[in-house]
């Protein structure tokens, strides 16, 4: 979904979110409470610059508006694949964004991620995936790698991978797979404001994705392995 369509559906036509390049930023009012919106569009590759821009917005909100909830709108083709970004420490910039979001949570900000278009691996691991919860629109696309590329890397036939992906959500692209594995908490369908309202009210503050994955049957081992480590003699 186009970000503006989504924003209008959630916050009305005068939502006040602006786009600067690939960056989305603004303060909206939802149920008469202020809500900071930070995100990207145009399937933006997240490089050092864009990671820092998002971190700036998060840090500003922490400093100027203690406790204000933040909604992270996600549309990214993944991390910027450039040598220059690696040289400049793209991993550090990503970590910085993630730590800013994590700090906001610790200081009482409600942090929600929403994949409204597409999300690839490194592009959202330190935004949506590090928020209190990451939700998605049903038509969103989430993946680490497409199956043809995965076939090249794993040296396995595409047909084999396609067949396996029918029964195992663990490597095939698809928002449904992420829901089953607990990576995505819920899909927003129908009434968008109601979905946001539900998320603001119910998203957990602690990380229960492994438990969700176990309950939903998409990631059966993670929670039990964590527990085994906790219980090990």
């Amino acid at each position: 979904m186009d970000w503006n369509t989504l924003a209008t559906a959630l916050f009305g036509a005068d939502h006040g979110i602006t786009q600067e390049g690939d960056l989305l930023r603004g303060t909206v009012h939802f149920d008469r409470e202020p809500l900071a919106v930070i995100g990207t569009t145009n399937h933006a590759p997240i490089g050092v610059r864009l990671a820092l821009a998002q971190a700036r917005a998060v840090l500003d909100t922490i400093a100027q508006h203690p406790g204000r909830p933040m909604l992270l709108l996600i549309d990214t083709q993944g991390q910027q694949l450039r040598r220059r970004d690696e040289l400049l420490g793209i991993n550090r910039a990503m970590a910085h964004l993630g730590m800013a979001i994590d700090l906001a949570r610790r200081r009482g900000h409600r942090m929600l991620g929403l994949v409204y278009d597409q999300a690839l691996s490194g592009g959202f691991i330190t935004s949506g995936l590090i928020a209190d919860a990451c939700d998605a629109l049903p038509e969103a696309e989430i993946r680490v790698m497409r199956i043809p590329a995965m076939a090249r890397v794993t040296k396995l036939p595409e047909a084999t991978l396609n067949a396996l992906s029918q029964t195992n959500p663990v490597f095939a692209p698809g928002v449904g797979n992420y829901v089953a594995m607990g990576g995505v908490r819920a899909l927003w369908q129908g009434d968008m404001p109601a979905a946001l309202r539900e998320a603001l009210a119910n998203a957990p503050v602690d990380d229960r994705r492994a438990l969700d994955g176990q309950e939903r049957g998409g990631r059966r081992l993670s929670a039990s392995v964590v527990q085994r480590v906790l219980d090990a003699a």
Partner: protein, 300 residues
Amino acid sequence: MSALDTAKVSVSYAECSARERIARLVDAESFHEWLPPAERVTSPHLAQLGVPSAFDDGVAIGRATLAGRPVFIAAQEGEFMGGGVGEVHGAKLVGLLRRALRDRPDAVLLLAESGGVRLHEANAGLIAVSEVMRALLDVRAAGIPVVVLIGGANGCFGGMGIVARCADRVVMSDMGRLAMSGPEVIEASHGVDEFDSRDRALVWRTTGGKHRWLSGDCDVLVEDDVTAFRDAAIAALDASMPVTLARLELEHALLASRLRLLPEHVAGDEAVALWARLGVADASRVAELDVDAVRALRTV
């Protein structure tokens, strides 16, 4: 052959397996492993793809003592699936970190060697890495230092490259690499002119320990030597640095100024240009200098 053994004072960290690294890093015989190989907590996903599993899913975790003090430790095995994080591998790391939050050791040591998410179980791996980040930041917030040590031949890439930068302290050897996307991935995506992955010197200038030291991306630069890593780990036992707004503002200023420091287009080598602009003396000679000499050049 005893003459040989005594002559050989240094043991290469890069050459050691994950388990050898643990054994040599912590106090002798002090490592107690959780979910050891005999428990066969293995990946349920690899066999269907024709890949053999490893009895520890590529990571050994447990408790030990370091200079007599209790620590938790994890070591990724870079030779197994490139150290890639899968469902079980990731859950073992998360479990270790959660347990650290509960049991409060003096530090958590993460001997990272990983290409990031294990593509054979990519979705689970991606979520798992983000769970590791959150669990790590919980431990860090509790005042327990998390120390990441990087010196394996496979480097520390992808999600683990981000995890490393979430830690209280990063120790690297000059053989170590710390970055996000591997050079092969960038070359495949943007061509050999963007990143010639076979130019290993270029790869190291872009991602290697010396660069990370000069740019401040690692906190300690050591020789490729297990004892040097052990010493650095001991020195980090009290290095807790909880994340605060002030600290993140400093971090932001550093990263933003670095971004401004390097123009989009520079003549000559970009790494050398960046070092020079950081004020590193003799920037063009960094590649040939040894660790001691490079250690003295840091300006940040």
